[in-house]
Every structure is written in structure tokens, then in C-alpha cells.
């Protein structure tokens, strides 16, 4: 059921063949990165976002994001510089940076060494590498995982129905910290 402790440089799933039109909100933030994360949209480390972030393609976060993150059919990587304070819904989630919030993944969650995760993890496959820092709960009962994810997927079929907060466009604060380009 679980695959744990596996050094997994392929944690992030490859691009979804059925991915939807790129999210316009991130069109200007798109870049191609090498290594883990592959050809994913990137929220760079000088970016701060506050709101509901949704999309249909793989995403790598190196900046600060708070609110809700929904990439139901895609892979999310939270890079070493990434700080996410949000409940996250994705196909797969790989964490190298920091997260505070619950992580829901229909395929897998991987917490890499030196990552710092506070929140609950609900996924059929969970991997926490030795040296990762985790505070929260991990559901290991397949029936409970299915139930929790079923609820999430059901409510996420129409993503407009998921957040209890009023839907709004993701907003990006493009003010880089002093001293950054």
C-alpha cells in the first residue's frame, strides 16, 4: 500500500497527457526547470501569493503561497525555497521545503529529507525520508484514505464547489524582497 523511504527522484509524475489549458494566472510565471519538477510551471522564490490557486498542469513552488492549492490532476512540487501555508489537493505532492496545512494526493505524497511538514497527509502512498521533519497525522487505513479522497474528489469534480471561501482569482504579489532581482 505504502512506499516509504524510497529515494525517489521521480516523485513528481510526468506531465498529464490530458492536462487542460494552462492557467492564465501563471502564464507570466512559466519557466522550464531542470531536474525534479521537469517541465512544470514555476512560482519563483520572490513570489508571494495569497488566495485560491487552481490549475491543470504540474507546478513547482519556490515562493510563498497561502490559501488553497488545487491541482487535482497534476503534480505539485514544493521546492527547497517553497513555503506553502494551505490545504493542498493534487495528484501527487513532493515536498522539499515547508508546508503548513493538510496534503491530499490521489496518488502519492513524498516528504524529502530536510523538508518541514506540519499537517495531515491523506494519500494511498506516503513516503517520508529519514531526516524529514513532520508533525501531523498520516492515514494508513486504505478504506479511510479512499473515503477521505473520495469526498475530496467528489467535491472537486466541480472545483468551484470545493472552497468554502468565495472563489477568487489567484493573486500574485510580484514585489520581490529587497535585494532580489
Amino acid at each position: 500500500m505504502f512506499e516509504r523511504g524510497k529515494k525517489d527522484d521521480e516523485s513528481v509524475e510526468s506531465q498529464d497527457a490530458n492536462r487542460t489549458e494552462p492557467d492564465r494566472a501563471f502564464g507570466s510565471l512559466r519557466s522550464k526547470v531542470a531536474g525534479r519538477g521537469g517541465d512544470a510551471a514555476v512560482i519563483g522564490r520572490s513570489i508571494q501569493m495569497n488566495g485560491d490557486l487552481r490549475g491543470g498542469e504540474d507546478l513547482r513552488i519556490e515562493g510563498d503561497v497561502s490559501g488553497t492549492v488545487e491541482l487535482k490532476n497534476s503534480a505539485l512540487t514544493i521546492g527547497k525555497e517553497g513555503k506553502v501555508k494551505a490545504d493542498v489537493y493534487a495528484k501527487s505532492i513532493a515536498v522539499d521545503g515547508e508546508t503548513k496545512g493538510d496534503l491530499y494526493a490521489t496518488e502519492r505524497v513524498t516528504v524529502h529529507v530536510n523538508a518541514r511538514v506540519q499537517g495531515n497527509i491523506i494519500s494511498p502512498k506516503v513516503s517520508i525520508e529519514e531526516g524529514a521533519h513532520f508533525k501531523g497525522s498520516i492515514e494508513m487505513d486504505p478504506a479511510a484514505v479512499e473515503k477521505a479522497l473520495g469526498k475530496t474528489v467528489a467535491s472537486g469534480a466541480d472545483t468551484r464547489a470545493v472552497p468554502k471561501k468565495p472563489a477568487k482569482e489567484a493573486s500574485a504579489n510580484l514585489n520581490p524582497p529587497a535585494g532580489t532581482a
Partner: protein, 181 residues
């Protein structure tokens, strides 16, 4: 672990760090694992800072993972962390845990007893397939061990009562506590 049957659902609270081996072991049963990682997330210092009272109780509560569901804890893995807490801090923590646990829940702890010294930082214990525990923590300076007696612990484990004690070949005492009704 023998207390967890493979068919029933269980909630396990691990006060130590998440370990791949521990998750693999617990993955054999239908359970939810709550991980506190007290040492990394500042729990030891926070429990030392306050005098007994509401503030200490609140501090203890905040050290535990947010409850995902209204399910009672069946087993608590304390490892060697009680040695690094004051008796007041330990009592506050175990009071909070007692309120989250079901009657008959078990708590396991390792107490430095024969040796006068212990490592400066708590161990990072990983179970092996044959039931042994290996400490994977990096060596650190030696400090005086509090060498808590069964009487000390009997008064500082909330509603948990001593069920079994045995002296291990490494000089530690292994305690199994059971929550009274």
C-alpha cells in the same frame, strides 16, 4: 506493536520523529499515525518553560498534531523522550494525551536507569524487522540522566498506570503503561 491486531483500526501517537521503518511496521495494520516529533518542533523546551497550570497545559496541547477525526488514541510511543522532560512537563503532556486516549490504551517509554549519563539529544529509534530497536541519532555530548524511578513516573504519566517494567541489557528500563478508565 503486539497490542495492535491486523484487522482492527487503531490510532497511534508517536512522540518521536517519523521514521520510514516505523511507518512500514504500522502499515501492516489499519491505522492512523499521529506524529509529534517533540524534539524537532521545540516541545522539550516549551514544556520546560512553564510552571504547572493552564499555560503549561495549553503548551502541551499545542505540541500534539491537530486532531483529524474524533478517534481515541490506542497507543503512545514515547521512546526516550520522558528523560528529556521535567516531571511537571511530562505530567502536563500525558494529561493531555490521557484525555485523547481510550481506556486501556498503551504507552511505551524507555528510561535511562542504570547509566548515570545520557546523550544530550533524544534518540531516533527505528524498529527492525525482528523487533529490535536501533538508535539512529548522531552522537552528542553526554548529560546527566534524571534516572526517573517507577514512582516518579507513576505520578507523572497522567491517567496511565504502570503495566510492565523490564530492565534491558543496555541499562535502560522499558516501561509499558496502560490507561485506566
Amino acid at each position: 506493536m503486539a497490542g495492535l491486531d491486523a484487522t482492527g483500526r487503531h490510532v497511534v501517537l508517536d512522540l518521536g520523529a517519523a521514521s520510514t521503518a516505523m511507518l512500514a511496521l504500522l502499515g501492516r495494520s489499519r491505522c492512523r499515525v499521529e506524529v509529534a516529533d517533540l524534539a524537532y518542533f521545540g516541545g522539550i523546551d516549551r514544556l520546560k518553560t512553564h510552571e504547572p497550570g493552564p499555560v503549561l497545559s495549553e503548551a502541551a496541547e499545542s505540541l500534539l498534531p491537530k486532531r483529524l477525526a474524533d478517534e481515541a488514541i490506542d497507543m503512545v510511543l514515547c521512546w526516550d523522550l520522558p528523560n528529556y522532560l521535567t516531571l511537571n512537563g511530562l505530567a502536563a503532556l500525558m494529561d493531555v494525551i490521557s484525555n485523547r486516549a481510550r481506556p486501556g490504551a498503551l504507552a511505551h517509554a524507555l528510561i535511562f536507569y542504570a547509566e548515570r549519563d545520557m546523550q544530550e539529544h533524544p534518540g531516533r529509534f527505528v524498529p527492525t524487522a525482528d523487533g529490535d530497536l536501533i538508535d539512529h541519532s548522531a552522537p552528542s555530548a553526554a548529560i546527566a540522566a534524571p534516572r526517573y524511578s517507577p514512582e516518579d513516573l507513576g505520578k507523572s504519566m497522567g491517567r496511565f498506570e504502570i503495566d510492565r517494567v523490564r530492565l534491558l541489557s543496555n541499562g535502560m528500563q522499558e516501561f509499558l503503561f496502560r490507561l485506566g478508565s
